[in-house]
Symmetry: C2
Subunit: 226 residues, 2 copies
Amino acid sequence: MALVTRPSARPALKAQARVGVHQRGLDDTRAELLGAARDVFLEAGAARFSLREVARRVGVSAAAVYRHFDGKEALLFAACTQGFQVFSSYLVRALSEATPLARLLAMSEQYRRFGLENPQDYRFIFMSLADEVNEVSAMSLTVRLAGPPLPQDATFLFLVDRVRECVDAELIASKDVQTTAVQVWAHVHGLVSLRLSKHLEGVGDEDAFANFYRASVADLLRGLAR
Amino acid sequence: MALVTRPSARPALKAQARVGVHQRGLDDTRAELLGAARDVFLEAGAARFSLREVARRVGVSAAAVYRHFDGKEALLFAACTQGFQVFSSYLVRALSEATPLARLLAMSEQYRRFGLENPQDYRFIFMSLADEVNEVSAMSLTVRLAGPPLPQDATFLFLVDRVRECVDAELIASKDVQTTAVQVWAHVHGLVSLRLSKHLEGVGDEDAFANFYRASVADLLRGLAR
DNA sequence: AGCGCCATGTGAACAGTGTTAACATCAAGC
DNA sequence: GCTTGATGTTAACACTGTTCACATGGCGCT
């Protein structure tokens, strides 16, 4: 029985790396795929993102990706969730401030920093394909009752807490803390996303934008105070 | 000389429609392509947008598209510019109001209406691939010195005028009208884009969102007043 | 020990994509 | 008339995402 053209599948490059691991190996091709996916996305952008290119980079066949993810979109979604953890790591730095107001302002600073320092991540998370890729992603006001809480939820609740502090300290007047939090979020998101979309080049360089950003947030907070 | 398999190119469907037109024919396959491109984009979304599908719908070969546009992205960009004219048509309705403040508020209303009634257009214009597709699109604060003014510029200048009116009427305190206009824009864009991204489902149905939206804008304006 | 299981990989194939090239058609102008 | 140029065609190329049948090799079981 010939079955001639079957090169008996040699694992090529990947073999020498994969040694004693088999089940949920800590080698973790999955993790490599996630990293590569982010890289490819950062370099190529959402439009030109290619599953095959990700696989190629990890040194694995395209079909192998389907052992770890349901497909292209699922891979992107997983990478997105990972990006959210970076986002969280920015926001929590605001906790080092002493007063409620300082913490809220610091959070808005961290929000801007994350956006400007990780533009592709930001776009990926907040500006792109929210219903195609991110079905459940991002901060969602929708209360998710079932399933484990995702980092996505935590970040919004974190913002709500910062706002609540300010309400308790009577720095902000609010009937509904969540609603007010959304206002703040929308404001900073509007500023950051327009900046990333290159629609705000007119305000100047990064420092100029930072100043404008702070002033704009201050204006909003003045409007929210009583 | 056979050159056998050459079916001598019969124009198939398109032939009977194209009658006496040749140069810049008013039949205008180009216009049909633009319309179809918008339709396909609205139905399939940015990710699954297909040039071949657009051509198919118009009843023309894929290669024919290249007679009118440089490629897929150029086609999308042209469709985007067309979408901008719809956007403008919403905004100008605000001019029917009597006072500066009413006009500014009406403009914010029209902005929201455009976003919610043309979600795909809005996403296309303001939320997607701004550097890949829309290179020069959308409202840009950057002053464009050369070239004819695009509808893109007009819409932002329109907003600036509404703000200036309010500043003149001493309803808004502002050092720089353009800067203040950006703040307003960013705020409403933030609200609309988050709503479209399904991140604000928690505020309720469309009416509830509209109320929240108006209140949020009012809060911002209060902060901007003096 | 042998055994089979099963997670993980493979290559080949399929349908669909954007893009380019060579060729056909036909109104219009010299 | 003949050439020209805009507009279309088909065929091909190099990609893409996805699925399939198949290999491989640790692991736990008897």
